[in-house]
């Protein structure tokens, strides 16, 4: 298949000097938002105790452990700003991302031991769910840096119980292992109760010599028998019990290495624990990328920095999607699928690090005259019409057949509406696309370049509407909402405004409420809000997008569950005709 993939047709146009000059203000705005996001991420890293304090106690921080564990330059953070319940600590208290360890991609997560000794906090279970789902979808190992004091007891009602609560990690760990996905745990510090199960549920347990894991810690063991209340005498008894247990907390190395043998390995130093994880990573099966590469890896021919001039901060301004994609893919090359059909959507094959990927994106701006063919009104980019939906289902189905992972790029205002559109079957075709995606079983990732809106945010590979979305990225220009705030305000208040008008009532109060609603939509759709509430898994600088695409491609092709020989692929032949 070398003639298909080695040199594909060129994609994208050079950025002209005049365009660069015209879009300078847009660049400034995008960089301003990126700087705000970067500052928020930095603040998140520094929550809790200073690193020096942790180090003085003889331990490393979770960030220092990550720094020493992962291969240089491979860390792709996820959920940096995720804090859906607005915890006062400013974090869900886990840190996670994709990275290579000993040359192999893994999903890595660690408790932030600077904050309440790594306690469970509200929102953490949802954060961990995203991580276990990610390992499952990419079929790569999960690596834990466990250092967890258990539940933050004053807040337990917010996360202990429930179908998606704190304990669900443990059955999800079982589920991953039953699927053949190994979980490695480096265990540090004191890990009672929830921390204990967090430690025991992985596959391989590598403990620091001073670590312990237990069903219950000192606090629980000393206060196990409720007496109907507290008094001074009871407290003195409690203090005596606590002192005795604190000298030797349950579940240390002498118990779980010497006696039970739960710990696979014990290391005298934290570096020794991290070395142990690296050793076990080397023992996990992984293909050399050359096994699946269809061409030699190549950087994009067109500069990534151009993206700041090509993706307008102004949501009303159109752009050429192919010019954006060209800055992200190997050699700025592609093979487009059905270029003359469904012009509102781009679909095509590209290479990332020499690996074949299906790319899908919304085109923007004016569409060819006469499109959509079923209506007497002109089509506009960002919307979905009949042909586009049919083409997407075909493309996704062929990618699934050929085992080609998919990257979606969203900038959508929704699916065409109105009775004409209903007669054109758009409701059914939208759901058909979701069915097609579910039928593929290939990993997918999504970049919400700008707008993710209405049902189109679901059907275009959104995390809400399928099990194949591994993760979703946002940019400084991302905004996600069910519809634009002004549209929502009009939908909510139009009838009431008409009634009040007929009754002779003043309209200004309704206008004020509508403005308030539109403002709320704006505030709750910004990139930082989307990241905090998990609409996206990370907001990434435009020049950082390709690094995430490389991580996705590398992880997907590291140990795929199912493969299609390149010479048996159908999609490249369908494209060539």
């Amino acid at each position: 298949m070398r003639p298909y993939f080695e040199k594909m047709p060129p994609l994208g146009r050079e950025l002209k000097d005049k365009s660069r000059a015209r879009t300078g203000a847009s660049r400034t705005e995008i960089e301003r938002i990126e700087a705000e996001i970067a500052a928020a991420k930095s603040a998140r890293m520094n929550v809790g105790m200073p690193a020096e304090t942790v180090n003085k106690r003889g331990a490393l921080t979770v960030w220092q452990r990550l720094e020493r564990l992962v291969d240089a330059g491979t860390w792709r953070s996820l959920h940096s700003l995720y804090n859906p319940q607005d915890n006062e600590e400013g974090t869900t208290n886990v840190v996670d991302g994709l990275a290579q360890i000993a040359g192999r991609w893994a999903v890595i997560i660690g408790f932030d031991n600077k904050v309440l000794a790594g306690a469970w906090l509200p929102g953490q279970a949802e954060n961990i769910l995203r991580v276990t789902d990610l390992a499952k979808r990419l079929n790569v190992p999960l690596v834990w840096l466990v250092n967890c004091s258990g539940v933050k007891l004053p807040d337990q009602e917010k996360f202990y119980a429930d179908r998606r609560g704190g304990g669900t990690t443990f059955f999800r760990h079982a589920e991953l292992q039953q699927l053949g996905i190994p979980i490695l745990a480096g265990i540090f510090g004191t890990n009672p109760a929830g921390g204990g199960y967090q430690s025991i549920s992985p596959t391989i347990l590598i403990a620091h010599k001073d670590a312990n894991i237990a069903v219950g810690g000192v606090g629980i063991v000393s206060g196990m028998s409720p007496k109907g209340g507290f008094d001074v005498a009871g407290l003195e008894e409690l203090i005596a019990q606590t002192r005795g247990l604190a000298e030797q907390p349950p579940g240390g190395v002498s118990t779980h290495y010497d006696a039970t043998g739960f710990f696979t390995q014990v290391a005298d130093s934290e570096d020794g624990v991290l070395d142990g994880i690296r050793d076990y990573m080397r023992a996990i099966p992984a293909y050399d990328p050359k096994f699946f590469r269809v061409a030699e890896p190549a950087a994009p021919r067109l500069a990534a920095d151009d993206l700041y001039h090509l993706l307008p901060a102004n949501q009303k301004e159109s752009y050429v999607f192919e010019d954006v994609l060209a800055r992200l893919v190997d050699g700025s090359e592609h093979m487009e699928f059905r270029p003359d059909y469904g012009p509102e959507m781009y679909t095509g094959l590209v290479k990332i690090d020499g690996l074949l990927i299906g790319a899908i994106g919304n085109r923007q701006g004016l569409l060819p005259k006469g499109y959509p063919e079923y209506a007497d009104y002109p089509g506009v980019g960002g919307k979905l019409y009949r042909q586009g939906l049919i083409k997407l289902s075909e493309f996704v189905t062929l990618c699934g057949r050929d085992r080609i992972p998919i990257v979606w790029f969203q900038d959508t205002t929704g699916i065409d509406v109105g009775d004409v559109a209903e007669r054109a079957e758009l409701l059914g075709l939208g759901q058909s696309l979701i069915y097609s995606i579910q039928a593929t079983d290939v990993p997918m990732m999504l970049v919400v370049l700008r707008k993710g809106s209405a049902a189109a945010h679901y059907v275009l590979g959104g995390p809400t509407a399928n099990r194949h979305n591994a993760f979703t990225l946002g940019t400084a220009a991302t905004e996600i909402y069910v519809m634009h705030g002004e549209t929502a305000a009009a939908a909510s208040y139009a009838r009431r405004a008409a009634k009040d008008h007929e009754a002779g009532k003043p309209l200004q109060p309704i206008a004020d409420k509508m403005n308030e609603m539109a403002k709320k939509y704006f505030d709750t759709s910004r990139p930082a809000y989307c990241a905090r509430h998990g609409f996206v898994d990370e907001v990434v600088e435009l020049t950082g997008l390709r690094a995430y695409l490389e991580a996705f491609a590398g992880a997907v092709y590291q140990h795929p569950k199912s493969i299609c020989p390149r010479h048996q692929m159908l999609l490249p032949r369908v494209i060539r005709g």
């Binding site: 002209k16 015209r22 102004n314 004016l366």
Partner: protein
């Protein structure tokens, strides 16, 4: 030989990015037209020199109206 650049649909001229006599390359941005709530760029179909400019910002144009010519 003059190439006419026409409005692809009805809208309002938001900005004119070239002047008569300017040399333009193919695919260079010429005009921004606001239509369907979007600001749409009109690109040069060919390289050449901008001839007659028939619109200015704020003008409303109908589909197929000639916006400018490229010599």
């Amino acid at each position: 030989m003059a190439e006419e650049v026409r409005a692809p649909l009805a809208g309002t001229i938001l900005d004119v990015l070239v002047d008569p006599g300017d040399t333009v390359e193919a695919d260079e941005e010429l005009i921004i037209i606001e239509a369907m709530k979007m600001q749409n760029l009109i690109y040069a179909p060919v390289a050449g020199t901008v001839g007659e400019l028939r619109v200015k910002p704020g003008d409303k144009v109908e589909p197929d109206a000639v916006l400018l010519t490229i010599e």
